[in-house]
Amino acid sequence: MNTSTAHSFHFKPYNVGRWVIWGGFALLLIVAPQVFRSGLSLTLLSQMGYMVIICLSYNLLLGQGGMLSFGHAVYTGLGAFFAVHAMNLASSGSLPLPLPLIPLVGGLAGLGVAALLGYPSTKKAGTPFAMITLGVGELVFAMSLMFPEFFGGEGGVSANRVYDTRLFGIGFGPATQVYYLIAFYTFVCTAAMFAFTRTPLGRMLNAVRDNPERVEFVGYDTQRVRYLAFMISGFFAGIGGAFVAINFEIVTAETVSAIRSGGYLLFTFLGGATFFFGPIIGAVLLVMSSVLLSEITPAWQIYLGFVFLFMVMYAPGGVASLIMMNLRVAAFGKLGRLWTSYLALGGAGAVLLAALSLVVEIVYHLQLDSSGDGSVKFFGVMLNVSSVDVWVGIALVVATALGLFEFVRRSFLHEWGEAQTEIEKEIKRREAAL
């Protein structure tokens, strides 16, 4: 092994896998509105598109840089406000800017604001960083109420996106045209952010995440690394925010609120911060849950809370890491023996979900329906919740479901652990054979 290591030759094949993935992503963006043709699905797809940009920009901080920001909506939101004002200036004729360039206004605004507010924020890492971003977020939200000229007060700022049809007769009136504008930016921004992770600064950002102290001893100013990454993140956040303005043609103060920031954090985490593509899944989940889940039940945020808790406890790598772990198991041909465990886990999970939703729905209905006859309809069954029997029954059901789930979870964990041990052995064996 000691020979010819100094000038080892690295064969770089034409990376087929990467072309397939990026080609597939582009195709998906192009074809999706043809497959899902309803107006609702176009709305969903448009929102998913720019949420992908926003969640990826957030993960530049969280996943790539280990910076837990509680104020990302500041950069998306101010991007949205600058974009909406730019649209109004453009439609009044005082700014010659076609709509497809408005997202860049948002991006530059995000960049500028991040350059300004990011400086004090990135002076510190860890908990102080998180606290500063929280404070900055509150500050900007408070300002939104103080300066109605810019933030539009209670009603927000509205605009009309159809102000210029000279570009091949495309006026961006129909939602389809807006979707394709979003899809274009989604693809370009995703590619750009992926490219960033493969640059010297992108890699040093990972190093700062893993071990800031050591970074200082290999020549880098960690604060500078964080600051530059923060500005780049702000730029993409602003682009994503501009599409809020373009898509809804109205921007309210809620866009810069801590609730929005929390949403970006929550769904980036759910999607998976440890993998580049995790936030894309997170963005899809964000739109699905805020639009579709809220249709099914008014208590959707409680369910979201449960899911978040569950993920933090059992799958802190998010959906993306669940996918990647299972792909690894599948690659070693061990997924077949796990399927019974998965079935049991799914069954127990469904029972637990049903039991929990029983409690949530009953409590929620009791709060809302003050008609007072104490009866609640759940899955077509009338329950008289004023009687003690029903509550004892519910408590029993929930306890049983919890016990069942915990039992199944443990046996699954055992099976999973065994499969992992076998895979480790296999890897060791292959290495030794090398």
């Binding site: 080892s8 992108g202 200082e216 290999v218 020549g219 880098y220």
Partner: protein, 262 residues
């Protein structure tokens, strides 16, 4: 050494206090370029603190520290590193979730002039990537190239720790107990490795293993209670009565006892 050339590292009356406790009490030390110096002393003598002062982890309370004749006291670690000094840590201080290859590459980027670039792909930096592979071959981790740093064995992590330290080509290398926690055979191999990778460099090392110290160092500095008790060739230090009394006597007795047991 040409007489006109300033020492690689020079300490003049360096003191360090934490609160009211004085850890380093007026250390004077001058290390010529290309010299290998071992710093020994009992636990709590301030050896690691001295390294932290030189490398910029803390600033000294008073006194001067010069690198190639330039004062560096109070400068940030990255400024001192850019000026040509690199250090390792007693407890491995790696980029755990990055691969072995990435760990070394991160240690090279600044030194090879890539700074905060985000408009170039790492894959396209041919010189950096070739140098990274060279360093991996030097520290004999080329077969572990794509493993995460946190998954390496203890001895491999120590090797990577030294690899990160020497990768950037700094002329002054500080190694803080590089062989701590290693077995006898691992230590022997590792000392050989250190010798290889620090050819032509100024080396300062903190070390407990007297075999390593006497085999590696041109001169030995004995640090006791924050003061340099002796700074001389290994033979002279071994013969020094004060050193015998303060430190070496007990250490030598201990290592002889350990040898007798084994």
């Amino acid at each position: 050494m040409a007489s006109g050339q300033p020492p690689a590292v020079e300490l003049r009356g360096v003191c360090k206090r934490f609160g009211k406790t004085e850890i380093i009490r007026g250390v004077n030390l001058s290390v010529a370029a290309g010299e290998r110096v071992a710093i020994i002393g009992p636990n709590g003598a301030g050896k690691s603190t001295l390294f932290n002062l030189i490398s910029g982890r803390f600033g000294p309370s008073s006194g001067e520290i010069l690198l190639h004749g330039r004062p560096i006291q109070g400068m940030k670690p990255y400024e001192i590193n850019r000026a040509g000094l690199s250090r390792s840590f007693q407890v491995s201080n790696l980029f755990g979730r990055l691969s072995v290859f990435e760990n070394i590459r991160c240690a090279l980027l600044w030194a090879m002039g890539h700074r905060y670039e985000f408009w170039k792909f790492l894959a396209g930096l041919r010189e950096v990537n070739e140098r990274t592979d060279e360093v991996l071959a030097m520290i004999k981790l080329d077969r572990k190239r794509d493993h995460l740093a946190m998954n390496l064995t203890y001895a491999e992590q120590r090797a990577l720790e030294v690899g990160i330290t020497i990768a950037g080509g700094s002329s002054v290398i500080l190694l803080d107990e590089p062989t701590a926690g290693m077995s006898k055979s691992e230590t022997n191999r590792f000392v050989q490795l250190i010798r290889e990778v620090t050819v032509g460099k100024t080396l300062l090392t903190v070390e407990h293993d007297m075999g390593v110290v006497f085999g590696l160092a041109d001169r030995i500095a004995v640090l006791v209670y924050g003061e340099v008790l002796a700074f001389d060739t290994p033979e002279a230090v071994r013969a020094n009565a004060r050193v015998q009394e303060a430190y070496l006597g007990s250490v030598l007795a201990e290592s002889q006892a350990a040898g007798a047991q084994a």
